[in-house]
Symmetry: C2
Subunit: 262 residues, 2 copies
């Protein structure tokens, strides 16, 4: 398998090419939201999932899955920022889509990003066959969960249990889906896939809890900073244990997530 | 192949089952919008596409494609009715989704419908293989066009040419995609698929122009009622000609579309 740095460089080019062939306003929204140098956590998860399963997978398949998962992520950011959702004005240091392009184009731009994602995955399923389609279905299944997670959050969270259930859907599902997609594309066996599931759930929680510690919101006001730190450490250890037989970069990844300060 | 009436009855049960396994508010929105007895024009198109290609296709494949295409259609209605889009308060004789469930749940409900659609098609692509995935990709490709068509309409239409280009994307693409999906699932040959394309484009325009004549809007104020009637008749004849070698129900269908008065 190509190394991670090369994969990410290829990914940036792949995504830019994918979004380059159209001059309409929605394609402009899509490029504005998807080509702005996000951290590409989910594409990395696709890569790591394949690596965990032995790395026996073509880069073309992984790039297609990574593009699908990142476009789904970008759609969710655009719609989450809408005035009727979280009403976010700034995203990744610049005006969010509805500020830059208006609310109508933000709704439609998000719709287009989601449609681009699935259209690309469907076309590649026709090209690569049923095994790839099963990998792609991990991403579409996560997209269903994400909408439910966002609805749970907007309906109001009562306690820590509800909060973590919401996070597992809103944030965790796509991280898990990306890992599973990569693993399935690389032909993961049942046992490896169970460990990927365990690892992915723990990484998703680490991602959310470390985010909450940085911002001082989410779980922090519900259960206090000290308890959040303890939960984060538990999930970090859970991920490390699940990854004990995998390539060491999976352990390194969860530690980067858990220890980030921005 | 099963007859059209039986297919539609099976379709209603299939869609209801598909949307039954969840009790969240978004599933409620999905059922409210998708199980209300629409005309099911697009599922009929999937069926007719398969029939045109010789009907050599399992009903399970067709039902899955029909569910995907109808869920994409329902998502587009929910988002089109939003206050920042067409701001429609009534849909199919009852309050539209954002009136019944609030704007937030309407945006997310539409997102969920689109995600359900693609998730179902992805899972079935994994089950049925690459040929089915190619059929499903006709639907995802149409979904991309639909978002662009809606953006064109909201940006403002200057003349009849722009109007018809917008309609081809916003309305025609999914009708054509449904026909192509059914035809490809039934193993259509190149020549048949070319005639399906010609038929589908003409049917899409017939659908839009007859709609405009009923409502007195769209093309009517741009080019006048008489010219719209002439264009409708041209497209009806174009569809009949394209369908000359197909099952007679395709000719019957375009006549029903062209002659409808409500």
């Amino acid at each position: 398998m190509v190394d991670k740095g090369a994969f990410l460089a290829h990914f940036e080019k792949y995504l830019a090419d994918l979004l380059s062939d159209d001059k309409s306003v929605l394609s402009e929204v899509a490029r504005y939201c998807a080509l702005d140098g996000g951290k590409r956590v989910r594409p990395v998860c696709v890569y790591l999932g394949a690596l965990a399963a032995g790395g026996n997978c073509g880069e073309k398949e992984l790039l297609a899955l990574a593009a699908g998962v990142e476009l789904v992520h970008c759609y969710s950011l655009v719609h989450d920022d809408l005035p009727c959702m979280d009403d976010g004005a700034i995203r990744r240091g610049k005006p969010s889509a509805h500020i830059a392009f208006g609310e109508t184009n933000a709704v439609l731009g998000g719709d287009a990003l989601l449609s681009y994602a699935f259209d690309h995955l469907a076309k590649k399923s026709a090209e690569f066959g049923a095994g790839f389609a099963l990998a792609a279905a991990q991403i579409s299944s996560a997209a269903v969960d994400m909408a439910h997670g966002q609805a749970l959050e907007l309906a109001g969270i009562k306690d820590a249990r509800e909060y973590l259930d919401m996070c597992a859907k809103k944030t965790g599902a796509l991280i898990l889906g990306a890992l599973r997609a990569g693993a399935i594309a690389a032909g993961a066996e049942k046992n490896a896939l169970e460990n990927i599931d365990e690892y992915g759930k723990a990484v998703g929680l680490c991602f959310q809890l470390s985010d909450d510690l940085i911002d001082g919101d989410g779980a922090v006001p519900l259960i206090g900073e000290e308890t959040v730190r303890a939960k984060l450490e538990n999930q970090r250890l859970r991920a490390e244990f699940a990854a004990r037989d995998f390539d060491p970069s999976l352990t390194a990844f969860v530690n980067t997530i858990a220890n980030r300060t921005m």
